[in-house]
Amino acid sequence: MNARHPGPTSDRYRLEQMDADADLMVLNFGPQHPSTHGVFRIKLILDGEVVVRAIPYAGYLHRGVEKLLERLTFAQGVPIVDKNDYVAPMTNEQALVMAFEKLLKIEVPRRARWMRTIFAELQRIASHMLWLGTFALDMGGALGGGSGVFIYTFRERDYILDLFEMVTGGRFHYNTHTIGGNRHDIPPGWDREVTKVLDLIESRLPEYEAMSSNNAIFVARTKGVGVIDKELALGLGLTGPILRASGVDFDLRRDAPYHAYDELKVNVATATAGDCQARAQVRVAELRDSIRLVRQGLAGLPEGGINGGKPIKMPQQFKTMTGQAYVGIDTPRGELGTFVVAGGGDKGTAPYRCKIRAPSLHALSALPWILPGHTVSDVVVILGSLDPIMGEVDR
């Protein structure tokens, strides 16, 4: 949305198509709006109900996390990133911890890696569950069928949070990843609980699909809406389900394996349409694949220690360290990257710079390109299909 681009509107919604006899309306969509999934503002310029131009504004939830990471020691940084992607908090920890481990060249025990895989996939299930609910909410409203789906999926998400509570004692701020491994080992009998929850979710999924993604109204609302083509997706650096829905077969879990993904087989779901329906289909397929992956992970979970052996002495160990590291992992929203430059930050005990690449930010950057030409109703659906988490966008 600046001078370098000819303007996303130019080819999507030409002024010539507009009726000459109507005024344009400037409508603020957000920040305090029921369906912006947080505090996000889009300024819409409307011709009747059709969007002529959309200008997104982010930053209403800016908390200075990246700057904070330069002030806190490495280990202190782990719990505060939980709040970035507040729907899948554990993935933030994983990305940060993995970047530190790469910087320090620390080997993570095999059991810890498998556990991290299980955690990551459970987080994906929880996150996609929440997305399905909120997406239905966007289309059915708080006073309609959408809220039914919303409450059901929130219930399932809660079961998964229960599982995490059993392991870490927390439902949101886990702080369970440490540099070099995990802090909490899974309690005995946990795998049975997981299987129970997964069975439940799997048995109920068809019902939710009947209420949402297989519903005729759902299809009517999403098909052909908010199409992101391959070029646009690649050009904007979109990742995750959005990229895969645009026909690019790319998944970090398979193409640059981390955790235990090299030992597990990830079935990457793709679609070619690039519209909201395709994104929904990809996410639902991922949901099913994640359930399978968790089961597989639990079955093959190796014995052994969960930490790097000797504890890492903080913070002296980092003082003399130099270098930089980037780690990208595939979160429910796409590639969550963490780039760390060592040395120098806060008298040497903190990273010099820590940059977090948030997938949601990139997803939202597609809005000016895809919104023009759609109606106000579609804005809500498109926004929901991108599944943005404002904590991550604003950091």
């Binding site: 002024l15 000459a20 006899d21 300024k43």
Partner: protein, 199 residues
Amino acid sequence: MNLEMLMQDPALWGLGIATLAFAMLAVSVKNLVHAVLWLGMSLLGTAALFAKFDASFLAAIQVLLYVGGVVVLLIFGVMLTREHDNLAAFRTTRRPVRAALVAIALFVGLVHAILNTPGLGDPSAGKLVSMPDLGMSLLGPYAFAFEVLSLLLLAAMVGAVVLARKRDPGQPSAKKLIRHRNLGRQVVEGLAATDEVGQ
């Protein structure tokens, strides 16, 4: 029921005065939206008059078509203008004498027509015309007029379509081009004036 009896009916006076008062309000208020709504009230008064004279069907159709339909049409008409609530031009006319002449001529014509209505003041004219009679005569003696009416409605529909149709994008008229340039400027100004947060 003759004219003298009618003249002594307080309900008739009340309804008539109310209808006229609403009509006066409709043409005298500045606010275009209010004007439309007062007109709606006036039309409701007319419907009440119909009901008073036992013309049930006419009264109901008056509400259904005029208040529920034409007023809505006028509301959307108002929304096609740029200033809904302050239309100074609405009150002034450049040719007051000519306007007055037209109004007087219309009034005289209407009064003349009413006074010359056959059966006015004739007690037998008060006989009820039932709805089935209405249907019978519509499809009997007035069948031809009825069919012509369908053509009229068709013409109106075609007119609506022409109104709605997008002009050929390949051949924009000069007026439209000017409008679009203004629209483009609106877009740009809309951005420039309100980008207080940043880019």
